[in-house]
Symmetry: C2
DNA sequence: TTGTTTAACTTTGGATCCAATAATACCTTC
DNA sequence: GAAGGTATTATTGGATCCAAAGTTAAACAA
């Protein structure tokens, strides 16, 4: 029994991100509705929202299609996240950090410190890290008071995080994952330091670099380089 | 007779931006549907989209409400546009401008030059300018090939342009408007110059400043200053 | 065999109906 | 007069029906 309209969008989004609806697959309202055992109305609303989010593409009179999200597009998305969160960090540093936000950021940092204390991560730790990470970023964006940043990120919010994590994460390589997340966590500390000291330019630059760091230990970075080279040639 | 679903969203958006639906006004699906003489289904889809765009706010079980877009929020939105279009310009300059885009940008510049030739503007000229302006910006965003920028801007796309123009434009002051748009147009020339010469950092900085220039001749800028001061105190 | 025309099917958009639920107003009772 | 409970109303979410329009496929003719 599905009560809330929002959750249907989430369900479809998860199916796309998880690959149950594979890239390039064509989706129509009626078959999808039957597949999920609900009526067309919520599917219709969800499809439109997902088009707006950039996960679906509309083929006029031929249904919808799961957009093929290339690694280059994920890199683009990370770059966008970088400039927007960089702007947020700059504005926070300029306006000054209020006490409650400062406390909450510190709590995030402490939680992260605890996770990395024993020198290794298990899969559950990674989930904890991701929650903490999301909270840390959200705190800064919210603290900026810039609602336009929030809404601009709302669209492809899931995309960079979910896709990058899905592509970058390999359960076989927990050590590499440990290094990647630990580096990111140290950057969190640096960002916090810049924010409390009102170093706005530093905060902005750190936050931009921090977005890139999401990719730094994945092989996506190489693909992006290849793309850039081919563009220039 | 309304055929296309997208147009209903546009109609409602226009009514909000124009002030026919005033800020803070509560809207429910049924009364709005009756007011427009259509059924609830398209209204439902439109309301959800407008929530996602940030123009409406949902009051659970109490309908929707037109969000009060403050001048500070418009400034925020302009800032977001600045960093995103700055990113686009930088990427275009780095990758190099292809010939067709270059030609189309030149056509925009020529069209602008013609508008400003006789030293004054009439209201129709301003509409022409806005179309040309939109095309110029869209060309650069598209040329960047960064789809994430496009979708991030899609949300509040209308907002900065429409709202700023609505607030900044005063038919009594066509001379001031002439100066504002002429300055913006000269910046277009500078952006183009940076792009064709591959000066990526300059292109990015110019594009950011260009966004601010939208406000430079309006009194919004003062309000923003006031807000910043009050934040610090 | 190929091209054109037509018919059937697919698909979306809009309208309306029903159900669930929260808010509000009213009535009763203390 | 106030407070609490109940009933009505307002509002949204989902299901289904119908119409319009485009796509596909098949059949027929050249």
């Amino acid at each position: 029994m599905i009560r809330d309209g929002q959750s249907i969008i989430s369900i479809l989004r998860d199916k796309i991100i998880s690959g149950e609806f594979s890239a390039g697959e064509r989706l129509a309202e009626i078959p999808t509705a039957e597949r999920l055992g609900i009526s067309r109305t919520p599917i219709r609303i969800a499809f439109r929202a997902l088009v707006q989010e950039g996960l679906l593409e509309k083929l006029p009179r031929r249904g919808y299609q799961v957009r093929n999200v290339s690694s280059a597009q994920i890199c683009d998305s990370v770059e966008v996240r970088g400039v927007l969160e960089g702007l947020a960090a700059r504005q926070v540093a300029e306006a000054g950090l209020n006490q409650t936000t400062q406390d909450e950021l510190l709590a995030c940092l402490a939680a992260g410190d605890a996770l990395f204390e024993d020198g290794k991560l298990v899969e559950e730790d990674i989930r904890h890290y991701q929650n903490m990470n999301m909270r840390f970023h959200d705190l800064i964006i919210t603290a900026s008071g810039n609602t336009a940043i929030k809404s601009a990120l709302a669209l492809n919010e899931h995309m960079p995080f979910a896709s990058v994590n899905a592509l970058a994460f390999n359960p076989q390589e927990l050590t590499r994952e440990y290094r990647r997340l630990h580096y990111a966590h140290m950057q969190h500390h640096a960002v916090y330091h810049a924010l409390v000291n009102g170093q706005s330019a530093r905060a902005e630059a750190l936050m931009k670099e921090h977005a890139h760091a999401t990719l730094a230990y994945s092989d996506l970075f190489d693909k992006k380089s290849a793309k850039t080279v081919s563009k220039k040639s």
